[in-house]
Amino acid sequence: MEIVYVYTKKRSEFGRQCNFSDRPAELHVDILPDISLAANFTVRDPCNVTVQCAEEMSEHEVNTERFESESRGINHVEGGWPKDLNPEDMEVTIRYRKKVEKDEHYQNTIMQIAGLMEHCCKQNNATDIYQEFFEEEDDEVVEESEEQPSAKTINVFRDPNEVKRTATSLCWHPDGNHKLAVAYSSLEFQRAPNDMSFDSYIWDIENPNKPEMTLKPVSPLVCLEYNPKDSHILVGGSYNGQIAYWDTRKGSQPAEMSTIEHSHRDPVYKVIWLQSKTGTDIFSASTDGQVLWWDIRKMSEPFERLVLDPSKKGNLDNALGAVSLEFETTMPTKFMVGTEQGLVVSCNRKAKTPAEKIVCTYSGHHGPIYALQRNPFFPKNFLTVADWTARIWSEDIKESSIMWTKYHMAHLLDGCWSPVRPSVFFTVKMDGTLDVWDILFKQNDPTLSLKVCDEALCSIRVQDNGRFLGCGSQLGTTTLLEVSAGLCTLQKNEKAMVSEMFERETKREKILEARHREMRLKERSRSEQSREDEGKEADGEESTEELVARAEREFFDIMEAEKKKEWNEERQREKVKDEKGVCEEKDFQEEHETNGIANAELVSYSDHVRNPFYFHNLMYF
């Protein structure tokens, strides 16, 4: 029911000044309760009411502004000495002490508390209350647990500069893993803003507010590595192609830098310490196509150089740009280079001639190979991360990888094996996700996929204990993550199972490779044979195209002949039909059909002819 109040006003009265007047209230509508309506409702009995006997709480979130804190220590100085005593004066203090010892109260107190102290000491010696029970059984218990693999962020280290740069490379401190060296640079071609800082930092993982040390190179560093033998020395490859090394005891400036004339011409993407007696050898790779060997004591020029020319002529123009390097200390004579073109080049250091240095190449990727690493447990197999996939290769199979992930939606930018589990490896993608793969558990999908941040993740490094990993993003944020215990403890039989898996896949690839080779051989032998046959014919040697053209011509001639024959037959049949009438139609149709089939055969034959394999057969007819 709509409650409406209607009033009328004369048109001429519009716009007049309002004259208000008081009047008593008028009741316009009074809706009385209608008891009959109650019949439509029933009383609810019992009523369900929820009551909570707890404190009422509300959730609030507060975020404070970033607070910079510093750790400082206080130096204790002796105090408490009476005012007239000089604590530095030995004699006076000794005298004071002797005086106190003679005090009766002192002696009584000491006797009392000494008794207490003795009691506690004896208690300590009686049993070790902090003894670890079930320590040996711990290892087995962990394996049985069905915990979900997980990883959580422990700390986030942000680039303190205003202008954010990409964290292009990370390196853990070789002893203790308490420090993380991060190299910052902008890899976008000529897009680095003018006021971008060149500094790279060493972070203490306990303190994400301020980096422990700053490294100030001449040009932003693209890669950074600690010397595994001497943890004070770091070497960095910079954007302008120079190599520099730092001694953390000596300060933020590089201890020495390579000369520009002999350095790389492009950013140095990877630098690795070599195993040598002096512990001062490094080698570096860059997209200018060279791999250079340096001794850090003499940075004026490299002591060896290799040009990545696949034609083995040492021609720099043909060279492939190197984007990643791989070196395993257990195999000091071999090393591998991942190139921009998607090839992995395996090289031998000890080869006599530069041509022999490049042993073989592995192809299969479509884009630059950002990461290349041998499996720490099975050095014959290595992982490459490039374009949208990660692939596992076996050294013996050069044509393709033995295992590979599916093509993802985003580019994969870096990856590494877990140092404790042979079946686990980590990859990071351009959309900011970290994937943990366990090939024994699942091959199609990552075992764990975590979104770490919104921008692209450009680098990842796992600590030697396999538990912590750091990943660097495009905006310079380095995230420290801890993975669950299941992903960093060696499962039983894991090594055997992984080795079996690799062997199985390698065998499969070998068989496929052998098949391919066979097919190619067959093709080659057939083409040779057909060329011999043609030699007998009057035409002499013809090229493939000519052969194909001839086959086509002959085929079309046959087709035309057939068509004409059919047409003539049809015309004849029509004449017969006109004469014989409808009852002949059936036969006619049948004939048509068979002719139709014949046509189909001819058509499929034409497909065959197009195929170069099969035209040879035609020749023999």
Partner: protein, 88 residues
Amino acid sequence: MTAEVEETIKRIQSQKGVQGIIIVNAEGIPIKSTLDNSSTVQYAGNVHQLLMKARGMVRDIDPQNDLTFLRVRSKKNEIMIAPGVKTI
């Protein structure tokens, strides 16, 4: 009397696992110590505050209660602190 005190201290020192003993008076002055001076000063300075805090906590929870002993267990060792009895 002093001989007894000395003897008691020696006895505690000879217990297995005891690295050193420091006796500190109410003002915080280390009276006797078997460790070197710098460590003594460090321990003496820190222990006083800790003791005050611990005692305060115990009495806060129950005013009739009092702190008799304090053990600080760390990764490498254990510091055992016995507060002196305060007589009015």
